[in-house]
Each structure stands twice: as structure tokens, then as C-alpha cells.
Symmetry: C2
Subunit: 267 residues, 2 copies
Amino acid sequence: MTRKELIEQIRLKKSYLCVGLDTDITKIPRHLLSSPEPVFEFNKRIIDATKDYCVSYKINTAFYEALGLVGWEAMERTVDYIPSTHFTIADAKRGDIGNTSSQYAKAFFETLNFDAITVAPYMGADSVRPFLEYQDKWTILLGLTSNSGAADFELQQAGEGLLYEKVLTTAAQWGTPDNLMYVVGATQSDWFTNIRKLTPDHFYLVPGVGAQGGSLKEISEKAMNNDVGILINASRAIIYASDKEDFAEKASEVAKEYQAEMATYLK
Amino acid sequence: MTRKELIEQIRLKKSYLCVGLDTDITKIPRHLLSSPEPVFEFNKRIIDATKDYCVSYKINTAFYEALGLVGWEAMERTVDYIPSTHFTIADAKRGDIGNTSSQYAKAFFETLNFDAITVAPYMGADSVRPFLEYQDKWTILLGLTSNSGAADFELQQAGEGLLYEKVLTTAAQWGTPDNLMYVVGATQSDWFTNIRKLTPDHFYLVPGVGAQGGSLKEISEKAMNNDVGILINASRAIIYASDKEDFAEKASEVAKEYQAEMATYLK
């Protein structure tokens, strides 16, 4: 999906919501466990229930890998099921030396047909470039994350700025706002003003709203640019809105609330 | 596998060789492609041919994920096939917020029964701790990698030292030499003297010998400690020693050469 197409979808739906499919087999409604493919069945019903209110789905690969082969199969079926109007993200946080990153890029952009993958920056340029080489595919590089461990390295002084600032500005030379986004955690809403200055044109994938405590209003005010420039992810708040037979209905209601609130912030 | 057991295996075999199973379906001998499971068949024959000369196998997950379900199945079968005397490493470079890292730990330590996994440090303590919580399992944290991109962040000034030095010393407070190793790239052999000072007791997993140009002699001299303290990985130099029907025989010969040289460096 191109940047232009993504922005069109956002304007059309008045939504910059990404629904995170962190599907944990121990947390899905028990009545689904008798289904032959409970994880895919859960995702399918969540997608059907939320697709009108979001523009993107993010699959957290860890939850699928934890199940082994069965989980990998559920991931394949899920990404195939997501409508082509929706921007699909493999939240995989991969990254390795060049010839290995090429294999990860192949895994997520070819074998699985994701639009985007999250990538870890630690190993530098040649670990990221193989992902950027794909036409109309996206690399979403970790910038500032929403977890407490961000303080250990990301927020440490590195040269003239903080490490995450160095990551943002260095990586901006490897890709363009047409193929590179950043993960910027929502629990740090005060930081968005500075981050937007450093990278005015890039999209941010913002996790941490909802269960992790970030404010949708604050983030939207501080992080948005003229092309919207943000995708806000909510996972648990939507997909586990209910653990009963009405889970899809409740997920739909919560996603609709996010969308309605987002519509009021869109310029 | 415990540290004591690993050291015993090293002493017994007079080898600290790790064979990297970066098995690329486009590079394995063509006659194997007619096998129902060519990747597993290749790995099985490489393992049979090299197991007497190495103490560890490292599976590079990217090459398996690139094949999708079939690849994931080959990885499962391979890790099950490796003898329990050998230290098994998932070279996966995972890392995410705590509840997601827990799922990755489950994937590689429970669903797949690896002894160790490589982990990326960028997201800090809570992204690494879930791996460290497993009894007799190992976290191998990226320290200094052997690729050119190491210059972008790892070798940048971060506070009083370089970023990779900060990673080594900070993470040493999260785990112990009994459950934490570091990836330290072999192309930077001059750096080992300093690295050993910072982390005297930890094991290092050292990639970059062979195809990537590191010297076995230099690394061994500079990086070894009284408990040996190094696992040296070679992948392509061994597994692709020949692309013909004699590939396993040639792999065995190269692994044997590494072992014979290592025997001369062991104190």
C-alpha cells in the first residue's frame, strides 16, 4: 500500500485506528476453543466486527509463534483474510545482518503478504535496508517505545541528543516518508512535540493507547501532521472488550468509539 | 543446559564450535530438492556429519520463516533432531514489551525446546527479563555485532562509553553468567580485550569467523577466559563447503579443521 492510498483510507473512514491482533489463546472466549482453528476464528470475527472503524491491523507475531506451527498457520490465514483496503503490519521487531534481514523481508513481504513490518534499529543501516528495498512496502523502525525499559537505552544520552533521537534522524537518511515509519510509544505524550520537529513528514505507529495508559486526545494533538501522520494502535482494549459470546459486538463498539473520537481530531 | 554442562562438553570435545544452520533452500545441493523435506534432510545430514566436532548448533530463524509453514516445520524437526549433548541456539533476535517477550520466550523455550535465544537490547530491561526467567535456559544479548551497521549506533558514544559497552554492563545486572551470554562479532577482534575486561565471566557467542572474515586465532587469544567463555559460530564456511553430493563429507572436514585448531588454543 502506498502512502497516498493509506491517507485516502484514513480520510474516507475518518479513522487512524490500527487494531492489534495480539491474539492469546488463553484469553479468547472459551466457546471458541472447540472450533478447529480458534485463533483464526477469533481474528476473523474481530476483523468482521471492526473493519469499518479502522484502517489497519497489526499482527503481533509473538503470540502466533508461541503456538508453533498451528500459530504460524493462523497468522497466514489471518493476513490473507484482512481486506486489501487495510494496511497490514507484522509486529515482528526483526533485524539482523544484511543477508539475514533479506530473509526476514522475504518472509513478511513475500511469503506472507504484509504491507509493513516493525524492525529493531540496534544493528544499524545494513540490518534495515533490505526491508526498505521492497516497492510499496513499509519499514516501521522502533524509535521511542512505551515500556519502562525505554529508559535503559532509548532515553540515554548518545552524542548530542538521546539515543532514540539519533535513531530517528539517522534512519531518516536510509528511507523516505514513503517507505519508513517509526514506532513512537504513547505513554510519553510530552515527547511528541520534539519528535515531530525531528521527523516532520513521517508516519508514526503509536502503541500504548488504552491498556497501556496513553491519551488519544493528547497524542493526536501533539503528533498529527498535515497528512495525519499517525496510526494509533489499540489491542487489548478492543479485542478483549468482552470474554463472552458477545466479544465481537463489544470489540466493534469500542473500535467505533475510537473512530468517533478520532473523527473529531482530524484536521 | 547449564553452564557446567556446556563447559564439560567443550572440554570433552576440545571444541567451542557452533555450527550455524542458516539453511537457504536456494543454496543446498540440488539433488536434495526432490526429498519431501529438503531443508530438514540437509540439516540432518549436516548434523550427523559435524556433531563430533562441535558443541552447539545455531538455527537462524529468518531462513526458515522465509519459507512459511514448511520452514517453521523444518525448524521444529531440526531442533528435535539435534542431540541433547549439544547447546541449541535460536538465532532469532527477538525483543518486545514484557508481555510480548514472554510469548517469544514461550515460543522458543517451550514450544520449541531451544537452550538459548538471541535477543535485541534496544527496548531495555523488561524486554529481556522474560527470557531470563526460564531455568537452565539462556539469553544471548546483542552486544557488538559483526556487520558494518554496528558503526551507526553500537559504536556511538553513549554517556561515558560506547553504546555496546553500556549494553554489556547494564544487562550484566539483569542476568548472571549462568543465564546470560552476549553476541560479540569477530570482525572486531581488537575490541575483545576491552570487552573481556567489562564482562570477565560471561560467555560470548562469536559470529563472523570464516565467510565474514574474523580470525579464529586472534579471537581465541583475546576473548577466552578460564571457563573458555566463547562459542565461535561458523555457518556458510561449513554448511556450504560443497554444493554437490559430498556436501556432508566436506562440512565434516571443515568442522574437523576448526575443532583441531580450537584444541590447540584451549588452556
